[in-house]
């Protein structure tokens, strides 16, 4: 399902698909797959993609492993710091259903409940070929205007917030020592 877009939106989406800057949230064991995708064998840069140091400059938010209650807060905080339009890519089975840690008390089993994920990459740490297949799929979705996770987050913001509070209690941790 895709929203109708103005001509400028179409051109912008086309540009956005060709130059995607990534912010790696390197948690768990997924991060080790990213260097091979950037170096000479697979070379992510030929698709116009490159790693960025701060969320302010990033378009894609790569979550590369399992999320615990503590790290989910950081994910939400960073997600809200990224400028629109932003896309989230879940990396590996840990983000899909908690992976091998699904039954632990602290693991977040479905990232989708808390922040809108546009694309999942299956595999208990997918190989670079799978990553590239996913990225080309994401580029197609952006060009077609189907990657609208950020719009969904804005529209049903309360639902997401409610989920987050239900599992985390409070997103921004208030530390009584400092107040």
């Amino acid at each position: 399902m895709s929203y109708e877009r103005t001509i400028w939106e179409k051109i912008a989406d086309n540009l956005r698909s060709r130059s995607m800057w990534m912010l790696h949230y390197c948690t768990g064991c997924g991060a080790v797959e990213l260097p091979p995708s950037m170096t000479s064998r697979f070379d992510m840069e030929r698709l116009g993609m490159g790693p960025m140091a701060t969320p302010r400059q990033a378009d894609i938010f790569l979550i590369t492993g399992y999320l615990s209650v503590k790290t989910l807060r950081r994910v939400i905080y960073t997600y809200e710091q990224m400028p629109d339009p932003k896309y989230v890519v879940g990396f590996g089975s840990c983000t899909i259903n908690g992976g091998i840690y699904y039954d632990s008390y602290a693991t977040i089993n479905r990232v989708d409940y808390y922040i809108p994920v546009d694309l999942y990459i299956a595999g208990c740490m997918p190989r670079p070929e799978a990553i590239f297949e996913a990225f080309t799929e994401l580029m197609r979705m952006i060009r077609k205007g189907e990657a609208i996770g950020w719009k969904k987050y804005k529209e049903n913001y309360e639902w997401y917030k409610q989920n987050q509070l239900k599992s985390l209690g409070e997103v921004y941790v208030h530390d009584e020592f400092h107040e």
Binding site: W8, A12, L15, R16, R18, S19, T39, S40, D43, E45, R46, L47, G48, M52, A53, T54, R56, Q57, D59, P83, D84, P85
Partner: protein
């Protein structure tokens, strides 16, 4: 009439600058035995960045970015590109260099205005590095101005019709090239923008539109610096010959920067005030006693 010349200069700066940056990324990729992005990748990046809905940190943040871009555009308009000279008599070397400082100060003020200490550290490093590379550069330029008795860039360009300054004053040219590397902020001297240490330094809080404007400013500033070097040391000549020389210098700079690691900031100033400054004084001494080839 000058409006068209200025427009021509700015458009050249925009198109040639961005394509050359794309080519540079291609060269670095090939040096690392990668395929590398298409040559027009930088155009896409700039317009993608401009098209996003970013965040602003208050009026000083916006004013700083505008002042930066405005200052650099003003500087570029004064720089002659080969025989395309927007303001024939008024392009004084010191005016161009210190007008460039308006852009630097604007960016510095805007970035620190964002309130992020990474930005302040980055700007402090940028200014210290500027102190490093600016002094030898100005001394070598002073030697040239003293030799040719004129400080207007277009005159300097025409006066070296017989043999380029590169051959007349090789030491001065070497010093200027090392300072050029510092000015461009290429790899050995990119301490202010070190992504690993201070999260891309001043650019830490730059979201969409501001990132795009800063990339434009970066392109224009690269164009100003290298065209200054080409005009003064490589003779300039006609417009296309100028662009050719520009590309050659740019490729050499990229090749050097592709293989070198990053200096620490103390080492930058210590290096600049020891080797290039010594060479610049040597060159000045040679000019004084007339040893110009």
């Amino acid at each position: 009439m000058t409006i068209f010349k200025v427009a021509a200069v700015l458009l050249t700066g925009f198109f040639v600058g961005l394509t050359l940056e794309g080519i540079a990324r291609k060269i670095i990729a090939r040096v690392q035995r990668r395929y590398g992005p298409p040559w027009y990748q930088n155009f896409i990046d700039v317009f993608k960045a401009l098209s996003k809905h970013g965040f602003s940190h208050g009026w000083i943040f916006d004013f700083g970015v505008l002042m930066a871009l405005g200052g650099v555009i003003a500087t570029l308009s004064f720089v002659p590109l080969g025989n395309l000279v927007a303001f024939p008599g008024l392009d004084n070397v010191f005016v161009v260099l210190y007008l460039f400082a308006v852009g630097a100060l604007g960016m510095a003020m805007g970035m620190v205005g964002s309130g992020n200490p990474n930005a302040s550290i980055g700007v402090a490093r940028a200014l210290t590095q500027m102190l490093g590379y600016e002094v030898p550069y100005l001394v070598s330029l002073a030697a040239i101005i003293f030799y040719y008795k004129t400080s207007s860039i277009s005159n300097l360009m025409n006066l070296q019709a017989d043999s380029w300054n590169l051959f007349k004053m090789p030491i001065g040219a070497a010093v200027a090239f090392i300072s050029l590397m510092g000015m461009l902020g290429k790899k050995p001297f990119d301490t202010p923008i070190a992504p690993a240490e201070i999260a891309s330094g001043p650019m830490v809080e730059l979201s969409s539109k501001y990132m795009g404007l800063l990339m434009l400013m970066h392109t224009f500033s690269i164009f100003v610096e290298i065209s200054l070097f080409v005009d003064i040391f490589l003779g300039g000549g006609s417009y296309l010959v100028f662009l050719l020389k520009f590309t050659v210098v740019w490729i050499i700079a990229t090749l050097i920067s592709a293989v070198l690691p990053r200096f620490r900031i103390e080492q930058v100033v210590k290096f600049y005030w020891r080797v290039p400054l010594g060479l610049a004084f040597l060159q000045a001494f040679f000019v004084l006693i007339g040893w110009v080839f």
